[in-house]
């Protein structure tokens, strides 16, 4: 069984660079890629009664959109490069969910792009890539 690499995909340019780099690595090592897209979601946020009623419908719509507009084309293009690819779309806290999936899928490595926001943005919101490096259960490659 070949090694599996998790790639964090959110449609940004940075995640595109991460995927490109991961494909290069996979080609040389014969690994397969698992493209992970996480929709930010907290079970402790507050919703109005109407939002609660429509939640299931919206969730299906959001999953469908993420699949058709983002993940499926990426899987296609990865396969076109000759690298085997699968995908997971999940709701949750971005870094925790990616770490969780990497662990469950026994991935060998995580690839994540760095957006390179200004220092101020980093101070206020933190950086997903930095947080990933902190909690990754397997080696984590941050692609600039």
């Amino acid at each position: 069984m070949s090694a599996k690499y998790v790639v964090a995909c959110d449609g940004s340019k940075a995640s595109g660079r991460a995927l490109k780099f991961a494909i290069e690595q996979a080609k040389s090592s014969g690994a397969s890629l698992l493209l992970v897209h996480v929709l930010e979601w907290s079970p402790y946020s507050f919703l109005t009664p109407e939002e609660i009623e429509e939640r299931h419908k919206r969730r299906n719509e959001e999953l469908e959109r993420a699949k058709t507009a983002l993940i499926d084309p990426l899987v296609e293009s990865t396969r076109a490069e000759g690298v085997e690819a699968t995908s997971i779309i999940r709701y949750g806290h971005v870094t925790e969910t990616i770490a969780d999936i990497a662990e469950k899928e026994a991935a060998k490595q995580i690839f994540i792009g760095r957006t390179g926001h200004s220092n101020l943005v980093k101070i206020v919101f933190g950086s997903v890539a930095a947080a990933m490096a902190q909690i990754a259960p397997v080696p984590c490659t941050i692609v600039p």
Partner: protein
Amino acid sequence: MKKNKLLAGVTALGLAVLSSSALAQSVDETVNQMFSSATGWFVNFIFSPFPGTSFPWIVAWLVVAATVFTLYFGFIQFRAFKHSISLVKGDYSDPNDAGEVSHFQALATALSGTVGLGNIAGVAVAVGIGGPGATFWMILAGLMGMASKFTECTLGVKYRNEYADGTVSGGPMYYLTKGFAERGLPGGRFLAILFSVFCILGALGGGNMFQANQAHQQISGIVGGYPGWITGLVFAGVVFAVIVGGLKSIARVTEKVVPFMGILYVGAAIVILIMNYDKIGWAFGQIFAGAFTGLGVAGGLVGALIQGFKRAAFSNEAGVGSAAIAHSAVRTKEPITEGFVSLLEPFIDTVVICTMTALVIIITGQLLVDPATGLYLVEGGRIVTEGGTSGVGLTSAAFANAFSWFPYVLAVAVILFAFSTMISWSYYGLKAWTYLFGEGKSKEITFKVIFCIFVVIGAAANLGPVIDFSDAAIFAMAVVNIIGLYCLMPIVKRELNSYLSRLKSGEIKKFK
């Protein structure tokens, strides 16, 4: 064409409300008279006492039901309390289902509909009339009410309607129809229609006009008197933007601020209790002594009991059926889990928040005692208070005793609570409306516009009889709903036994 007519109607009503205050005054009086003569019998019937006593039968109806459910389900509120908390924490939630409404979100939304004036003003009324002993009966009623909530919310989820597009509709009207049919009982459809009618009236009254009215009184109490229709129009505008315009951001802000306000309120109460820690033992002594002796309060023991029971029922709405509507939209494989989660509601609402209010009022010495006899000074059926305050004013004065700035925070809290209660009840009313008239955009808009018009009317006028009527309508919901709960409780028992045995066998497992 239909839309135009509707618009014309709205404009006409708006103009009527906007017209000179003198005219509005006479309009008020006419409406008052018409209303009280037409509906007085209904109000009197709902709130009528048992012959020869001053104990309203509707209060007994709610308390007896809560007791029956408590015994029938073997004190489920205590047995399942720990499990309820793990459900809310998400210990049993499948990570693959993330993105669906969580138990926590359902609970928070339902709570924002019940936490409100009842917790702040209602408790002050209870303690002001019934004395500290009312607190004891209020807590007891809150604990029993947990079993009523458990029953109705389980049924709400079990018998909801699910539509092809993934949206759901649920509530007592659906379990009355479908549950009765399943058990082969007659009259389900009739009860469901009756419930829906009362629910719409309750939504427009207690869930809307009363809230708008109280919010206006708070605002004008701070900035000085000004016409109520201004508050009404602003509120109606915001409510319209949220429920018709779908402006989720406003709702989201309130939904975030309301829990924060709740925490701030309880936090402030705890700080006051800590500051007066030496009096806590004494306060509980007063509560227990008052519960069984009345401490010389008007009405004695029975007076304390009625006030306590009544306020608990007003505040946590257990048995009314409203919570069953709110909880039924949650997506869960096990309807009973929503019942477990909902039983926390009366606990948080009544046992925690209401008790805090009562303790602060008692500890800060708002209720005046006759130094000669050691009994409370009673005048005109209520205990004499420091500065002669009552209702929100009494709570406000109690908190101001420790923090002079707190009345402003309290005013903001009351306004926000009123707003979130309105949003919740607009949804309950809408569900009853679509049950009666069918689903559909134009039908929904019609109700929502009517709802907004009633916000203006509620804030503008001092419509005592209308508010009495709408309170009566909310309790009439409980009459219908509880009949249904008695008939359907074996179904809940079956669900409960099945779930508990699967939990024990490990078939239902923790994910965390």
